[in-house]
Symmetry: C2
């Protein structure tokens, strides 16, 4: 099914859905789509939401989405990249009903990202999905991730503001806060704040923040929420807004965007190069033959890759000579 | 510091440590090391251990390591790929003492893998670390991972047997078992089995296993352990052994190894191609210029990558013509 770019730019949900399916599966068409929509992107405000399974992340995302939609009259897109989320269908007995409820609401588009396939990076696909929602005039895009794996952390580098959800008394408290997660938290959300231990986790967080302050001088606020009761959403939105204002003039934020652009570029470069080599040089079962060499332990992967690369470069050279270049 | 390959093959811990540091940081030398040691690999028995933070994974790995070392007189290597593990130093207030205790013991080598850097895949680095331990005559290699992210799941595809740890009453019980994790579990370990809810989680697992049986016909056994008390380790080792015997003749297992070889080959191909392009074609600040184009939104990453690739292919062609090819 071809992607109708005009409909996509008008925000048509089916066109958005098709475009995202395309970027997940079709290397050549996805490059074309992303190049075409590029001039229409750069307007959305992207919020990353990271939290362990059971932290109530999906419910919070749901509440925030309704806040922006109903309270601020903004169109909202949600990208869920969480193998444990009911959105992504990872949970086996999950309540999928909720997902449909949100999806049916006017002005909110939800998309769950499949775990990565042959075409490569989950974070590349998520970034591209955000670009598509951006081009489709979603004003606020929420990116939900479990944030434990490296891929999942890379995913939310696309965000302008990152929320990290914690729950009082869950696991080994502060032990559950990973170093990588600490670095990305612009706002801490203490969800399920009616549970015992809320003061304790806040005290631990404050202690950690005072031991290792952020290099940009920002002090991540701690916001209590009870997402199931829709409590604390207004103060949370205010905290998000206040970090966004701060980041606008922060030299470190700009540096962070540059680092992120570099990672994105190198990831995409790898994907496109592999796609090109496989497509142009390893057709007709040649890839399978190389795979068999490795699987049967006749050769090591490094030697096989060397052979593939020198074959490809030689071939490129000959093609170009042949075409008169 | 150069890697002494003879010492590595003799199992010298410092040579192993240096070799692993090298494969994490040095693209060209790592290829050389991996090619050289390849004929010495393929003998180790690799066990993957996956579990959520707080499931007692590190303690279990510790107990299993001692079982193989003291009970079976086998040399043991441990590769920890878990941002929340005290081994990897991800936990902020973690008890690092334990790690040293294990490391000091004769015959056990522990290595934690850093999250991936520029040189690429965590799973590539982990596989290479396993190869190094294999070449260094470690007979049993335990690979520990939190198993939530895609990278972390890819990591344990290197294993011959995969354990998935669950804890009674933790989180939303069965909800915490992700679809991806279910597929990789050859043996379920119910750790902290003295806790309430052990029958419940076992009943849930059995129900799930009967709803979706494995295509290879294997019925993953459920083994209760209390790792802190060293209870259940013998039955666990027996379950591991019994799956290993089953897998030996399983056509699906062989198919799985082939799929895994394919993924590994493509990942390595991407890494090596990017390394080659960056090293040979994007020197002298050219990469920074491209990054700036993307970061400042003057161009989209797809167009920039196209330009880089066509520049590289053209250059390769010219070099070859110039050199008389």
């Amino acid at each position: 099914m071809p992607v109708d770019l005009n409909k996509l730019l008008q925000g048509d949900p089916r066109a958005i859905a098709r475009a995202i399916t395309c970027i997940e599966n079709d290397r050549e068409n996805s490059a074309r789509i992303l190049k075409t929509i590029f001039p229409h992107t750069g307007h959305a405000f992207v919020v990353g939401v990271t939290g362990a399974p059971g932290s109530g992340k999906s419910t919070l995302v749901d509440r925030l989405a309704r806040f922006y939609l109903n309270g601020q009259k903004k169109s909202v897109g949600i990208v869920a990249v969480d193998p444990t989320s009911p959105f992504t269908g990872g949970a086996i007995l999950g309540d999928r009903i909720r997902m449909q409820n949100v999806a049916l609401e006017e002005g909110i588009f939800i998309r769950s990202m499949a775990t990565r396939g042959f075409l490569g990076g989950l974070s590349r696909a998520t970034h591209d999905a955000v670009s598509i929602l951006d081009a489709a005039h979603k004003e606020v895009i929420l990116v939900e991730t479990v944030g434990v794996g490296q891929d999942e952390i890379d995913v939310i580098k696309v965000a302008h503001v990152n929320l990290v959800l914690l729950v009082p008394g869950m696991g080994d408290d502060i032990q559950a806060i990973k170093a990588g997660i600490m670095e990305i938290a612009d706002v801490f959300v203490i969800n399920k704040a009616d549970r015992e231990g809320v003061e304790r986790i806040e005290a631990q967080l404050l202690a950690m923040l005072s031991i290792s302050p952020r290099p940009d001088g920002w002090v991540p606020p701690l916001v209590r929420t009870i997402a199931t009761l829709n409590e604390g959403i207004n103060p949370l939105a205010a905290a998000i807004e206040s970090y966004a204002r701060f980041a606008k003039d922060s030299a470190l934020f700009i540096q962070k965007r540059r680092t992120h652009a570099r990672e994105r570029l190198l990831e995409l470069l790898g994907e496109q190069l592999v796609g090109k080599v496989v497509h142009e040089h390893l057709e007709n079962g040649l890839l399978d033959q190389y795979v068999e060499l490795v699987a049967s332990r006749q050769s090591d992967p490094y030697s096989v890759v060397d052979e593939i690369i020198s074959g490809f470069c030689g071939e490129t050279s000959q093609n170009r000579k042949g075409s008169g270049l």
